[in-house]
Amino acid sequence: MNDPIISINGLNKTYQGGFQALTRVDLTIQRGEIFALLGPNGAGKTTLISVVCGLVNPTQGEVIIDGFDSVRDYRQARERIGLVPQELTNEAFETVWNTVSFSRGLFGKAPNPAHIEKVLKSLALWDKRDNRLMTLSGGMKRRVLIAKALSHEPRILFLDEPTAGVDVELRRDMWDVVRGLRESGVTIILTTHYIEEAEEMADRIGVINRGEIVLVEEKAALMQKLGSKQLTLQLQTPLDELPEALQLEALSLAAEGLELVYTYDGRQAEEGHGIPALLATLEREGITFKDLHTRQSSLEDIFVDLVKERA
């Protein structure tokens, strides 16, 4: 798949006080994908989104959105984008219907009550359409922000920490909404520090740290490449120390010699020579085990390792 909808080239952002928020960011987002941008607080996620959406002026570099320069052709570029900000920013005294209709008009689209109705129904907001925003719960307000962003039928949707402060049930509802949007052809870029969220939804993952893109990878490939696995064997008889044939860096004893722990990465697993070789050695050495279990590192483990490595 090589059909970029957003191309970010050599983007730098230095704020007035001298703080460099983005350093030579190059990033391509493919049409129709869900891209998760991960990074610790202050890494530059929101600044990057803000530059793409026109909220922050870049110091250097360019952003091309569906073939249009975000500065020179700002009208064509911006009409393709919907933005759901991190903060719950709403006109408190407006009704749901009015505020969503306002957003559609603001983005230069003719009134279309049927579309607004469809959006509100898809986000379970239809019953609340005449309610003032100040009377809604936090989760509902976030849905309203999504409805506003979808009111003008964007092709690209930016979700900046979409489930921050949202309870587990609502978070899962939100994920379903996002998946539904992707199925309708919308490209989705989400920033999050809930690794679980990226793991659950993203096709590709980008990690940003201190204003630099540390890596961009298919989620599955990333987990395979960087995710380590652990095989724990529960031994029949405890070992005081590992026999010479098992003196490997990847092997260690735990639980007072009752567990043998083998740590290996995804590539070894794929090549398949790690575990069979170990089991053969155990048999040769006469070491027996009564049970075993494996554990794969999560995206969170990978993320923490990456950020730590670059710190």
Binding site: C53, L83, T89, E94, G105, K148
Partner: protein, 253 residues
């Protein structure tokens, strides 16, 4: 130009006015009417005519101008300040609209409301004092130009202000004193010569004088000077707003 965003901003601002009808319309009308009661009926009957116009009628253009200036500045400044304060300005800044469309939407709504208020007060004043409008075209021209110009000024203040206190700073500490000292309640001919010259440095004098001329054909300064002054204000405000949007001052980091 895309008219949908302009309409969206304009209608949203006017809807805010409707939601706060008591504060937006009724309150300024009542306070201006009180001026008529106090200065027009109670005190005005003891003051002799000025330029052949009764004192009650003489102060009508000045009072309308006082309300027009303060309300235009307040409406427009609050209109753009509130989205900044609440954070919803992100939507305006990320929308595919030009700066001109944003200004027309916000300033157009603020000016519309002020003009409406001006006309209501004009109608109300006719219940208290005998009115005549010698130059209706110029009366409307001054009304519209002043409302637009001071709404532009309000828009600038709304962008500059980083708190509610600053929002009130200019209307309370600059606009109101300049209007009171700008010949709203007196002709500058009534001042000693030194203060007459000092008063000519007050730009509001030219606005009040020009507006009063459109009613009664009497003025403190020439009509050309009045038109030039309001035009100068308009150009200065437009230039400042153009600079704000070009640099992103207080809008885009």
């Amino acid at each position: 130009m895309n008219l949908y965003p302009v309409r969206a901003i304009y209608m949203a601002e006017m809807a805010r006015t409707r939601r706060t009808l008591l504060q937006s319309i009724v309150s300024p009308v009542i306070s201006t009417s009180l001026y008529f009661v106090v200065f027009g009926a109670a005190i005005g009957s003891r003051i002799s005519e000025i330029g052949g116009v009764s004192y009650g009628a003489f102060i009508v253009p000045g009072l309308i101008m006082l309300m027009l200036l303060t309300q235009s500045v307040s409406n427009a400044s609050f209109g753009i300040f509130f989205p900044k304060f609440s954070g919803s300005i992100y939507e305006i800044l990320s929308a595919p609209i030009s700066y001109l469309e944003v200004v027309i939407g916000y300033v157009g709504a603020a000016a519309s409301k002020s003009i409406l208020l001006g006309l209501i007060i004009l109608g109300t004043s006719s219940f208290f004092v005998p009115l005549q409008i010698a130059h209706p075209f110029w009366m409307l021209t001054f009304l519209v130009l002043t409302a637009v110009t001071f709404s532009l000024l309000g828009f600038i203040i709304g962008i500059w202000a980083d708190g509610f206190d600053k929002l009130q700073l200019v209307p309370l500490l600059v606009i109101t004193p300049l209007t009171f000292l700008g010949g709203s309640f007196y002709s500058i001919d009534m001042l000693p010569p030194f203060w007459q010259n000092v008063t000519l440095a007050n730009p509001v004098v030219y606005l009040v004088s020009g507006f009063r001329w459109s009613f009664y054909g009497i003025s403190d300064v020439s009509i050309v000077a009045s038109v030039a002054m309001i035009s100068l204000f308009l150009i200065a405000s437009l230039a400042t707003i153009a600079w704000i949007f070009r640099t992103g001052y207080r809008l885009k980091p």
